[in-house]
């Protein structure tokens, strides 16, 4: 597989654009959730803040640093999220995760994932899957703070025993030493 399939032009563009990056001082609205995720493999970190009003995502912004994949992925997530219901956003996170876990067998669906569909090539690079997931796991965490799991349709994303999903969440969630 060629490098170009991993770093598509659109990915490099997003990685430089970093749309939605920067967290303005926070108003204390009930419907805001924030989650911080660390990729233990590289030490890169991201914080995602999601605001929901009337079950619709009002804004998704983020702050962090990392590789081109992780930055592009956060930028794409930002663009995708703002038009969705909270429940829909969770569904897109699930679809994105499924694509990345597929080891190249699932194509990205631009209808569902917007520009993030272009990250499909990442699924062939297991070491980089965490990069692409980082912002999305953080978004999931932020959503959970706002609405109980059922509300976002989170049931579908429940970790299946021993699956990559759970392993990843476990890995990404640092345990205090």
């Amino acid at each position: 597989m060629s490098l170009e399939a991993l770093y598509q032009e659109i990915i490099l563009d997003h990685s430089r654009a970093r749309n939605g990056s920067g967290l303005p001082p926070q108003d204390t609205i009930d419907a805001t959730g924030e989650s911080h995720q660390l990729n233990p493999v590289c030490g890169d970190e991201i914080t995602v803040r999601v605001t929901v009003q009337s079950k619709a995502v009002q804004s998704l912004r983020w702050q962090g640093s990392g590789c081109a994949i992780s930055m592009a992925s956060a930028s794409m997530l930002h663009e995708l999220a703002t038009t969705l219901s909270a429940r829909d956003l969770q569904a897109r996170v699930d679809a994105f995760r499924q694509m990345l876990r597929s080891r190249g067998t699932t194509q990205g669906d631009p209808e569902l994932l917007g520009d993030a569909a272009s990250l499909e090539g990442v699924s062939r690079y297991p070491a980089r899957v965490k990069c692409a997931m980082l912002a999305w796991v953080a978004a999931e965490g932020a959503l959970e703070q706002i609405t109980p799991a059922m509300d976002t349709g989170n049931g579908a994303a429940a970790p299946d025993a021993g699956g990559e999903n759970e392993a990843m969440t476990r890995l990404i969630a640092p345990t205090k030493g």
Binding site: V41, A127, T175, K176
Partner: protein, 443 residues
């Protein structure tokens, strides 16, 4: 990799292993095709360490020749291959004992696994004392007056780490005694295991007696009082189908080298959730999230317990070993080795002046038998058998207290595995009959 074509025929059979099957299996084991002092090698020391099939040696070599790199790091292709091979090995070995990959920690050997648990519990005790960690640490901590229960037949590996943990925490080490024949006195276990008991640790099968512990009963006693159960599966994992979760133990250990795998690798199984609650023991690279000069935060299990460069080649080798075992079938191996164990027990019992240790012939035992030759020291017995090409183990087999209880300082042990025929057993028995005459005792 080498494929032993005849093996397919063996695998087509329904149950057990005939001597002909075994002779086909033997073809895969180069070490068995040696002459020792001009005689065919009869290797009956698998309880100490097993021989390795070509399949395992080649898996390890292939790893080094095509995938070798540091795992969980680096973005390059070899690193990806190495990581895949390493984690696939974990999944394979975990499945072998019906566990999830996250429940399996690689260790250097079984001894290191038991030490890891004992030291982690010791660390929990210090952490709790100093207010570090949460509720789960305080629950795991041992305090003066708490008790650790082992049995009198343990291998030193499942005894001394607990003595040291007791010393360190002020806990008291107690033990379930055995009777003069070596049987565990279960009624004593009932008396001993009480609310003060925090850990119950015992061998699944004894490396001296060949007896199988009443796992279910002991687990029940421990569960009743909320004690952790640690199973030493060193002599069971190689020889019988093992479902650790269904045995309902909290921790278990075994060693790769006793089950066709390379040296330098062992396994610690920990019930899901429990491993994550334990403090780490070895610290260093690849087990942290954030490190400052002042402090470190630790990853979840299994990485939390895998500091530094792991035995990757050996993990791949062990995975190949359990594939080989599974290919033949653990139930067939168990059936075959049990038959050999009985043949050993019967044959030994029939020799005048030789006393079988452990369960009498006809009673359950795994494929090994230790014995005492009246008037001849075990080392002389071993030396004599060696001169006839028969390799056995002599000494206290790292179970001094048990030997003392049996009134012995040493014994001789013959232990069989999937590559031993009944002929091997008979050759051994014939050789054993010659020992006392040779040393001029019991005339």
């Amino acid at each position: 990799m080498t494929v032993n074509n005849d093996l397919h025929a063996v695998l087509a059979q329904p149950a057990g292993l005939t001597d002909d099957d075994v002779r086909i299996i033997q073809q895969d084991f180069p070490a068995l095709h040696q002459e020792i002092h001009g005689r065919r090698l009869v290797y009956l020391d698998s309880g100490a360490t097993s021989q390795k099939p070509r399949w395992v040696l080649e898996a390890e070599r292939e790893f080094y020749e095509t995938c070798n790199a540091a795992v969980h790091r680096g973005a390059h292709e070899l690193a990806v291959r190495a990581t895949d091979a390493f984690e696939d090995a974990r999944t394979t070995v975990a499945a072998f004992v019906r566990a999830a990959p996250e429940e399996l920690v690689w260790t250097a050997n079984a001894t290191a696994g038991i030490n890891l648990i004992a030291q982690a519990l010791g660390n929990a005790s210090i952490w709790a004392e100093r207010g570090r960690g949460g509720q789960e640490i305080r629950q795991l901590a041992l305090k003066p007056g708490d008790e650790i229960v082992v049995t009198e037949l343990e291998h030193h590996a499942n005894l001394i780490p607990w003595q040291e943990l007791a010393f360190r925490t002020g806990a008291v080490l107690r033990f379930i005694p055995v009777d003069a024949a070596g049987s565990l006195r279960l009624e004593e276990a009932e008396r001993l295991i009480g609310p003060q008991t925090k850990v119950v640790a015992f061998a699944h099968t004894s490396n001296v007696l060949g007896s199988v512990a009443p796992v279910h009963e002991l687990v029940q006693l421990a569960r009743r009082v909320g004690a952790l159960v640690v199973l030493d599966a060193c002599q069971s994992a190689p020889h019988m189908p093992l479902g650790l979760p269904s045995l309902d133990v909290d921790f278990a250990v075994f060693s790769g080298h006793k089950m066709l795998g390379p040296t330098g690798i062992g396994v610690l199984y920990g019930r899901r959730g429990l491993l994550d609650a334990l403090p780490p023991v070895h610290t260093g690279g690849s087990m942290i999230t954030t490190v400052t000069m002042e402090r470190a935060e630790y990853l979840a299990a299994p990485q939390r317990f895998e500091a530094g460069t792991q035995p990757v080649g050996q993990a791949v080798g062990l995975a190949a070993a359990v594939q080989y075992l599974d290919g033949i079938g653990m139930d067939r191996i168990h059936a075959s080795v049990t038959v050999l164990g009985q043949r050993l027990a019967e044959g030994i019992t029939a020799i005048r002046g030789v006393k079988l240790l452990g369960p009498p012939a006809g009673e359950p035992r795994i494929g090994l038998a230790a014995f005492d030759v009246e008037g001849v020291h075990a080392h002389d017995v071993g030396q004599y058998l060696d001169s006839l090409g028969v390799a056995v183990r002599v000494g206290h087999h790292c179970a001094q207290p048990l030997h003392r209880r049996l009134g012995l300082s040493a014994s001789t042990r013959a232990s069989a595995y999937l590559y031993n025929t009944t002929d091997d057993i008979d050759e051994f028995l014939a050789a054993l009959s010659g020992v006392r005459p040779y040393f001029g005792v019991g005339k």
